[in-house]
């Protein structure tokens, strides 16, 4: 028999600290598969966030820098400008990228920095224990929105990828999810596309991944996936939000 699937080369053989069914783990694996398939693993420099993925370097066998919370876009900019031929990514959660890191995200995109941002949207602050994120859905409860998010008090669910997509520096922006075999395959394609666009020097790329956080949503993993597919997509429609690669 022939082996049709094995752990990708750049994914280290250690057990992760992620909760059961966490989307972070899936995305880590997809990225490592893509690097292996593209043959770029040894040219990759990644930036890890403050967030549940802070320990990404424990799993990814590529160069990884830990950024201060929210500063991934700026740190990656510094790296990429010094090493323009390397493959540089910033991996960020929704709090990291869309709250404290708003300015760094918008401006890295607006400068058209030739980097790839992998944006894990789980509509919550995972690492710190379930506080409200900018991406938290209306009515959804969080430990800092115990009565459920209301527009009057907490403001609206923020679609930051949409804002990024409006910027001329954004070469490719796509939203995907990792909730089923089909969506996972699609997510991987998007990730690969983003890195290819970066390699072609076309500018800023971002892949937003709608990602289950069973722990803070207080759901079973499979229920969390169904919730993404039914509730989250209502506000965050998957698809290509910007494609300026033709130019």
């Amino acid at each position: 028999m022939e082996q049709v699937y094995k752990k990708p080369k750049y994914l280290k053989d250690v057990s992760s600290h992620y909760c059961p069914g966490c989307g972070h783990s899936i995305v880590h694996r997809l990225m490592m598969e893509v690097f292996e398939e593209m043959g770029v693993g040894e040219k990759v420099i990644g930036v890890a966030p403050a967030g549940c993925a802070v320990l990404a370097y424990v799993y990814m066998d590529v160069d990884v820098i830990e950024a201060a919370h929210g500063r991934g876009g700026a740190v990656a900019t510094g790296v990429k400008r010094c090493l323009p031929d390397h493959v540089v990514f910033s991996y960020q959660g929704d709090g990291d990228l869309a709250a404290i890191g708003t300015a760094e995200t918008i401006h890295a995109a607006n400068r058209g920095e030739n980097i790839t941002v992998i944006f894990i949207n789980n509509a919550i602050y995972g690492m710190t224990g379930g506080q409200m994120a900018p991406t938290t859905l209306m009515g959804m409860k969080a430990t800092t929105a115990p009565a459920g998010r209301s527009a009057k008090r907490e403001g609206y669910t923020l679609d930051i990828s949409h804002l990024v997509a409006e910027l001329p520096g954004a070469a490719y922006v796509e939203r995907v999810m990792v909730t089923s075999p089909k969506t996972i395959v699609k997510a991987k394609k998007a990730i690969r596309k983003a890195f290819e666009v970066q390699m072609a020097g076309k500018g800023f790329t971002l892949v937003e991944v709608l990602s289950p956080c069973p722990t803070n949503w207080k759901m079973k993993p499979l229920d969390a996936c169904r919730w993404v597919e039914t509730e989250m997509v209502e506000h965050f429609q998957p698809g290509v939000l910007a494609d300026r690669t033709g130019k």
């Binding site: 992760s16 600290h17 992620y18 909760c19 059961p20 549940c52 802070v54 690492m127 710190t128 224990g129 722990t215």
Partner: protein, 183 residues
Amino acid sequence: MIVKTFFAGFGGQGVLSMGYTLTYAGMIDDKHVTYFPSYGAEVRGGTANCTVNVGDEEIASPIASEPEYLVAMNRPSMLKFENFIGPGGLMFLNTSLVEERPTRSDIEVVEVPANELAKKAGSERSANMVMLGALAGKTGLVDPAAFREAIGIIFEKKKKAMESNLKGFEVGLEFIKNKGGGS
């Protein structure tokens, strides 16, 4: 005297709730108490632990070095924390989930098949309270009446949980009595 108890297990096993109940009971029993849960990123991956100090004088440090009692609800906790216990200490081991036994010989192992007892008593989820009953019975750390009052207050608004927890606690207490331990 200050007595330190360390509780460990996976997240789902109600480990923090065990510690909290002991703390509350200690307060009712007019003792000095501190409760210190594991917090933050440690919690990822589903393990949880907490330290409860109960004493008749002011408590210096809420965290435990060489606790007198360790409650290990699963195998990883037993392995990881076995060496924490002070010499002569007690390990309350949930034998429903752990087949092995600790290697140290200078501690006493109190074997409690908590999940089985809880299941028999009606709800496997109250395995933690079974264990707490065993701890209360074995050590006499805090008066069982205070435990009952504490459970009553903590679960005031969840009658069903209160009942099954109280039941679990009694089962554990009973179990230890029958086993011949206790103070």
